[in-house]
Every structure is written in C-alpha cells, then in structure tokens.
C-alpha cells in the first residue's frame, strides 16, 4: 500500500475512534474544551508514532526470530506503558513547559487502547518499518481530528439546553455516535477514487 493510501486510511476510513471505537476514554474525557483536546491529540500522535516504531522493531527483530510471536500482546502492553512513562520523565526533565501542557494527558495515554491498537494493526497488516511509522502518525492525526471535532461540538453544546440527565458524558456519547455514522461515508471507494 502506498504511504498516501495509509495516511488516508487511518485518518478517514478506519479512524481509530470513529470506525474502530478504540481510545474512547480520552475521547470523551478530554474533549471538554478545544485547547486540551488539541494537547491530547498531539500527545497521542507523538506516542503512537514512537510506539509504532518500537513495537515493530521488537516484533520483527526479537519476538519473531525467537519464535515468541504469540507473546506480542503482553509484550506490547509492557513496552508501551514503560515507553510512555519514559517519555513523561524525559519531557518533565527537559521541557517543563511542554510537561505542564501535556502533563495530565501523558499518564492517560499509558493505558490508551488506541496506541495498543495501532501497534497490533501494524503487525497484522505486515507493514515495514516506514509504513508502520506512517500508520502511527496517521492514526494519531485521525485521533486528533476526531477529538478536535468532538471538542468543538461540546463547546457549542455548553450553550444549548440539554436535558439534565443527558448532560455531560451521555450526550457526548450520543454525538460521538452520530459523528461515527457520518464518518461511515468514508469507505474504500474513497481510496479507490483517490489512488485508483
């Protein structure tokens, strides 16, 4: 698959949140205002691209040769969690400003299933290093797009008269569902039209 196709696929067609329903907790939890949504989006993109690289290397250079491929899930969990921890420490040390901005979101990513998801998808699709990396970035951008749209909707919703028992998370999930339906319009025919 061409790199362009990968990008289109993970931003629009199989958007991790809106098509595969992964990473819903930050999607609902951190989308109350646009600013934090963007912060979260970039943090996730960053982690996803690094995680794609690391897990690819781990799988193809260590697990496969040793015949331990069946351990991928658990090993990836360990790796991603430690990776995020490490990133958090490094950022805290060398860029306190960035840490302040991302600080609360980084730990949230530790257990974010979307990161795990893209790592496993990469392996399953048999991507090479660069393709994995691209998929990681694209999936992150897809996440950013979804959470940004969501936060814009939720900011608008603040001024609407939502029935009280639907306020907050319930109405957010309903709008998220509607958004997912809208994204169903992006399917493989889009790709065929673009790349032929």
């Amino acid at each position: 698959m061409s790199y362009f196709a990968i990008v289109i696929t993970y931003i629009f067609i199989s958007n991790l949140i809106l098509a595969q329903f992964l990473g819903l907790c930050p999607f609902i939890g951190v989308s109350k205002n646009v600013e934090s949504a963007v912060g979260m989006g970039f943090a996730v993109t960053f982690v996803m691209s690094i995680a794609s690289l690391v897990t690819w290397a781990l799988y193809h250079l260590i697990l496969m040769p040793l015949g331990l491929a069946y351990l991928q899930t658990i090993v990836f969990i360990l790796t991603i969690a430690s990776l995020v921890q490490l990133v958090e420490m490094v950022v805290q040390k060398y860029s306190p400003v960035l840490y302040k901005a991302l600080g609360i979101y980084l730990p949230l990513i530790t257990t974010n299933c979307a990161v795990m998801g893209i790592a496993l998808i990469n392996i399953k699709s048999g991507y090479n290093v660069l393709e994995s990396f691209t998929a990681g970035i694209a999936a992150g951008m897809g996440f950013l797009l979804a959470i940004l749209l969501m936060s814009a909707i939720r900011v608008q919703m603040e001024t609407e008269r939502v029935p009280r028992f639907l306020k907050g998370a319930p109405i957010a999930f309903i709008s998220g569902g509607l958004m997912a339906m809208a994204f169903m319009a992006f399917d493989n025919s889009l790709l065929n039209n673009l790349v032929g």
């Binding site: 040793l66 331990l68 658990i74 790796t79 430690s82 490490l86 420490m89 306190p96 609360i104």
Partner: protein, 281 residues
C-alpha cells in the same frame, strides 16, 4: 511436553522483559529526577486526598499548587478536610485560620413520603431524579419535594445517603463530608446544607401557597406564620411561602414552635434522622 516448554519460555521471557523494563524505568527516574516544590508536597500531605473536586480544582493536587503559588487566597475551600486540613494549611502557609466554624452537612428538607405527598402520575423509568423531572417536573404534585430516586446517592463520594424505602432519602450526617455534590445535582433543590449541630429543622421545601401545599402534602409548610409571629426570637423566617430556620442565634421558643406548628413540619434534627435511617436498614 512441547506445549509446557513453550509456556515456560514464554513465561520466563515475559518476566525477564518486564523486569528489565522496570529496572530501566527505575534508573531513568533516578537520573531524570526533578525537584518538587516542598510547600506543594506538604500541602498535599494535609489535604485529605479524596480528589472530590469540592474545592473547584480537579483534585487535591491542583488546590495544593494553587495555594502554594498564592493563586488562591481562600484557605477554606477544602470542605471535606474540615478543621484538620484548614489548620494544616494555615500552619504551612503561616496564616492565622479560624478552625472553629461548624461543619455543614446536607439535609433533605422533605417529609413527603409514600402516602403523605400526593402523586400526579406513576413514574416508571430511569431510577434518576433528573430523568424524572423531564416528565412534568417529576411525579409528585409538589414540585419542591424529594423525588426519592436518589440522584444524590449516586454522586455522594462517601455513601452518606440512603433511601428509606418509603419514597424519601436521608443523609447520615456522620458520613457527610460537606462536599455539596448532592445539593448541586438535586433537581428540586430540596437538599440544603445545615450545621452539623442543628437543633431543629423545618423539613419542607415547598414554595407553593399554603392552600396548594396543603392539598399536595400532609406535612408541608403552609406558611401560616405561626412560628415566626409567636416566637420572634426563635429564628423562624417565612420566605417565599416557606419557613426558613436560621441557626446563628437560637433564641427561646424554638422547641415550642414544634408543638405549635399546625403542619408538623418542624422536627428535632438528630432524633428523626436516627429513627429514619434505621428504617432504611
């Protein structure tokens, strides 16, 4: 045999791998250690660590930081921490604090249980007061009373609230940490904060005119003004067709008013709570 070996190797390598990562992280955290602000840490220590959000921050840490940075002047925002936390904060920041203020607890100002308050229809839906209010403001004729579905129960961080089984809810004042979440979520406003050492309560929230209140509920405050007029010193004040009891100056006549109230909606505080809570089981 082969399977067992595979499991064994898998287990061993995962353990090794995990251990390695853990070790790496431990080393990294040493190397990359950042000095934390001592004041913030000390403040974090005296705050109760409930992260309930009553102070207006996301958690205790946020409040500690704001206090240390001088961004927040109000030292009393941690209601759950009460006098202990307040004293601690004052000591760390070197500020005089008054720790003698009485703790406030939530109280449900309603006696309109099953058969006492009339219902306009039969609500059968989500066990949630806020959902019920979407339908004609709830199933009670009185729009100010407790709907008894327990929205408050679900938000209370300490499980201080219980259903009595006859259509009301009660707050256990000993468990209440005065975070005020129940007051915020309650759609009818029947929960209000009162001092923990309250002697009496006017257990009604109806702002309807006396006649209407009377037709809606057998123990509603009908705003006859007997308590206010007969015992001017006692602290009863009629506002919006409802007698509101003040707790600051408890003059003579507070207990007598209980007898004189024709609607019987003034009740001694603690006694009633204990009796009702035990029926809750």
């Amino acid at each position: 045999m082969d399977v067992i070996l595979r499991i064994f190797w898998g287990f061993l390598s995962t353990v090794l791998f995990g251990g390695l990562l853990g070790l790496g992280l431990a080393v990294a955290s040493r190397k990359l250690k950042v000095e934390k602000d001592e004041t913030v840490e000390a403040l974090d220590g005296v705050l109760p660590g409930l992260n309930c959000g009553a102070c207006g921050y996301a958690g205790c840490g946020g409040y500690a930081e704001a206090l240390a940075a001088g961004k927040d002047e109000d030292l009393t925002k941690c209601k759950p921490g009460g006098a202990v936390a307040l004293a601690g904060i004052g000591k760390i920041l070197g500020v005089e604090v008054d720790t003698n203020a009485v703790r406030m607890v939530a109280y449900v100002h309603c006696l309109g249980k099953e058969g006492v308050a009339s219902r306009s229809y039969n609500y059968e839906g989500l066990e949630d007061c806020n959902a019920a209010t979407v339908l004609f403001s709830g199933d009670k004729d009185c729009k100010y009373g407790c709907l008894g579905l327990g929205s408050c129960m679900n938000v209370c961080p300490t499980n201080a609230i219980r259903k009595t089984g006859d259509g009301l809810v009660v707050v256990n004042p000993d468990l209440c940490i005065s975070c005020g979440k129940c007051v915020d979520i309650c759609p009818t406003g029947v929960m209000r904060m009162i001092p923990e050492d309250a002697d009496f309560v006017v257990a009604c929230n109806s702002r309807d005119k006396g006649k209407l209140t009377k037709s809606n509920c057998k123990v509603g405050c009908i705003a006859c003004k007997i308590c206010e007029k007969k015992f001017p010193e006692a602290g009863y004040k009629i506002q919006d067709n409802l007698s509101i009891l003040g707790y600051d100056n408890r003059g003579p006549g507070r207990a007598e008013a209980v007898e004189k109230c024709p609607a019987k909606c003034i009740i001694p505080y603690r006694e009633v709570k204990i009796e009702e809570a035990s029926s809750a089981g």
